[in-house]
């Protein structure tokens, strides 16, 4: 007991000293300033000296990941994708025209899926860890907070996993969105439904009450009404919802042909499961985020026939030939190369968050090559000019002042869980038609 007590006292005192140490200017100030000054002097010196000798430059990429909290799962995919890219790019590095070889390093912290520390952590990344380029955290909310910091330092930030349109309509200049924005997540699903069943008229939207999903369904609702559908139910649920019974009853009462919505993995998979268990009679079910995840297969029969928009799938058919046909530049590994490398490293098939993490690195890599420099302004200009096809799809950023950085070219694909010949659940790309790996099943097998 006594020892325990002592330990507490000691640890609190240490903490106190640490706090006071931070607050006491005399020792802290020079100690903190000196190394920074050195770094500041060293870097340009190194660059200049390196140029003729064809030396090496290490570029630091900073980002926070949600290692704890509700966003942990998608955030992990994103991090893994990025780490894979890092490993690959560092084999040879990027050789600039002056012979400098650029290599990359990453710095990362846990943002706990919460906004409070994001700004502080990004400042630390830029100031202490001298991050030259940034990758966004996962989710639109956290990215909003991080964007303020990126913008105030003028550091380029590639966002992945931050689809909300609103972020890019606030007058940003150095933030670039890799994902298809939220407003275009479900529009394809509506086209698909119209193509599959000309008689389908009624759609119910049941979605998570959060920034991203609300943005998605509001755009989708407008699009559906424009296409002549009746929106018979439009209602949000709380992020922590585990019991969807009230919604199922409302859906049953509204008798829609299709249900669309969802939000993130947890709620979406639960909704799909309960719709199945309750035998709710719908013909078409499209949910955000959850269906493309591999764990969705754990729902077994409840997963069958469920459609989900995906930023990217391993079955996607983005190829050099397609790029040539469309007059686009092709860059980076092929879909198969990426998928294989990812599986070799992590023992699982990559999902779109993983693809996004990797693609964020690839985009940056290409921009540095194009700019032939690691200078932020030059890289920014290269990103503005970019119109690229990669394994992840087409990437082109909006360059207008109002919505600078908003993704313009990237398109969603739609997956559906189906049985293969052995009766195993597999994910197939069913839309758009030109990218199909299988015919869609319609109506939902219930």
């Amino acid at each position: 007991m006594k020892r325990l007590f002592l330990f507490v006292i000691l640890s609190t005192i240490t903490a106190l000293v640490a706090a006071c140490g931070g607050a006491a200017p005399e020792p802290a100030a020079p100690a903190q300033e000196q190394p920074k000054a050195e770094v500041a002097q060293e870097e340009p010196a190194k660059e200049e000296a390196a140029a003729p000798a064809g030396g090496e430059e290490v570029v630091t990429i900073g980002y926070t990941a949600s290692k704890t909290g509700k966003l942990e799962v998608p955030s992990r995919g994103q991090t893994r994708g990025l780490e894979l890219w890092l490993e690959q790019v560092n084999k040879d590095g990027i050789t600039l025209s002056d012979g400098t070889v650029v290599k990359f390093d990453t710095k990362t912290y846990d943002d706990e899926s919460a906004k409070e520390r994001v700004q502080s952590l990004y400042t630390t990344l830029i100031e202490e860890d001298s991050a030259d380029f940034l990758i966004s955290p996962y989710s639109s909310g956290l990215t909003d907070a991080a964007a303020v910091i990126a913008e105030s330092y003028g550091n380029v930030m590639i966002t992945t996993g931050a689809a909300s349109d609103a972020t890019y309509k606030k007058g940003l200049t150095s933030v670039f969105q890799l994902y298809t924005p939220a407003s275009r997540y479900l529009t394809g699903a509506i086209d698909m439904l119209a193509a599959l069943d000309p008689d389908a008229k009624k759609i119910a939207f049941v979605y998570e009450n959060a920034k991203f999903s609300t943005g998605v369904v509001e755009a989708a609702k407008a699009y559906a009404e424009e296409k002549g559908f009746d929106v018979v139910l439009f209602e949000g649920y709380d992020s922590e919802t585990t019991d969807f019974a009230p919604f199922l009853n409302k859906i049953a009462a509204a008798e829609p042909d299709a249900v669309m919505g969802g939000g993130h993995f947890n709620d979406g998979s639960t909704l799909a499961r309960q719709l199945y268990e309750k035998n709710t009679p719908v013909h078409f079910l499209a949910l955000l985020v959850a269906p493309p995840e591999l764990q969705f297969a754990e729902l077994a029969d409840a997963a069958l026939g469920v459609v989900g928009p995906s930023q990217w799938e391993p079955q996607a058919n983005y190829t050099k030939e397609a790029a040539a046909a469309a007059g686009l530049e092709w860059y980076g590994p092929t879909v198969a190369e990426f998928a294989k490398a990812y599986e070799d490293k992590y023992g699982e098939e990559p999902g779109y968050h993983a693809g996004g993490g990797y693609a964020a690195g690839v985009i940056l890599q290409r921009a540095i090559e194009q700019a032939d420099s690691t200078d932020p302004a030059a890289v920014k200009a290269a990103l503005d000019d970019m119109n690229l096809l990669t394994f992840f799809g087409n990437v082109k950023f909006d360059t207008t002042a109002e919505s600078h950085g908003l993704q313009q070219a990237h398109e969603m694909v739609y997956v559906q869980w189906q049985h293969d010949d052995q009766g195993n659940l597999v994910k197939q790309v069913v839309w758009p038609v030109e990218g199909q790996s299988a015919e869609p099943i319609y109506p939902l097998p219930r």
């Binding site: 942990e72 209602e235 709380d238 019974a245 729902l299």
Partner: protein, 287 residues
């Protein structure tokens, strides 16, 4: 009308399980005046326990696994009691609120490290009942039935057995029980264990029909607060009724309003009852 009936039935069936969880919270409060802020994570641990004992893990039938969960819950609760509650029992309320909250943080912290926050599914189905407007999976029916059974067992235990009466005696007057030879510390640990057990079992039941993660307990913890206040703090039988009321509310309100208004109504009701009927809707319990 169909929607109303279906919705009400769904709500009520869940209400029993909510009530069971809340019983654990209110029992602990009734006996030792402690609001157990580790309640939610304990519910979540119950979910994980049945998951790992059940088909996805050791392969026990989920309802057999429930029994094991109950025993584990009891032991775990007693351990929590000795570590975090015993020393500060006579301290101010703040101490017990914070010490149980620290247990909450530890469970969530370790739980996230081990289980991640990826949701888990039991994939357990035993068919369902469909007639008229109703469509009820048997898991829900059995869950509600078990909840009632456990509640009844708790009642019999507290009012018909020597050990149970000793718990009530300690709740009523700890010093006097000690004088009569009742080992009050052990009795308190037992009560905390039973409270924990009820939470864990309710979590395990919930896991047979909903997906869950280590963070899932939070929702049920807040529901338990509402129920406990509805039924009267410290009144286990009131908690079951409170659970039913909450379940009914969750069933009825969505028929007329967007579902997102349900929690608004719940919490406004919660505050109003605290303000005007702090002993619960049925007035019983401790004054």
């Amino acid at each position: 009308m169909d929607q109303f009936i279906a919705s009400l039935a769904d709500g009520l069936l869940l209400g029993f399980v909510y009530g069971l969880a809340a019983m654990g919270l209110t029992l602990i409060f009734g006996v030792m005046d402690v609001i157990n802020l580790a309640h939610g994570p304990i519910i979540a641990l119950g979910m994980f326990a049945v998951f790992f004992l059940g088909p996805p893990g050791l392969g026990l039938h989920p309802y057999v696994a429930l029994l094991v969960v109950a025993v584990l819950g009891l032991i775990f609760g007693a351990i929590i009691y000795f570590i975090s509650v015993h020393r500060i029992l006579d301290g101010p309320h703040l101490s017990s609120l914070l010490s149980t909250f620290s247990v909450n943080m530890m469970i969530i912290g370790v739980g996230t490290a081990i289980f991640t926050t990826t949701p888990k599914n039991m994939d357990f189905s035993i068919g369902g009942l469909a007639f008229w407007a109703l469509n009820i999976p048997f898991t829900r029916l059995v869950g509600a039935f078990i909840a009632v059974l456990v509640a009844a067992a708790l009642y019999v235990f507290l009012y018909r057995t020597q050990q149970g009466k000793a718990i009530r005696a300690v709740a009523n007057n700890r010093a006097a029980s000690e004088l009569m030879g009742i080992p009050s510390t052990m009795t308190l640990a037992l009560s905390f264990g039973i409270g924990t057990m009820l939470a864990a079992v309710s979590g395990a039941i919930i896991a047979t029909f909903f997906s869950f993660s280590i963070l899932s307990g939070g929702v049920y913890e807040l529901k338990s607060f509402v129920i406990v206040v509805l039924g009267g703090l410290g009144n286990p039988t009131g908690a079951l009724l409170g659970g039913l009321i909450l379940g009914a509310l969750e069933g009825i309100v969505p028929v007329f309003l967007p579902v997102s208004w349900v929690p608004v109504i719940e919490f406004v009701l919660f505050v109003l009852i605290l303000m005007y009927r702090p002993n619960g809707l049925f007035g019983g319990g401790r004054s």
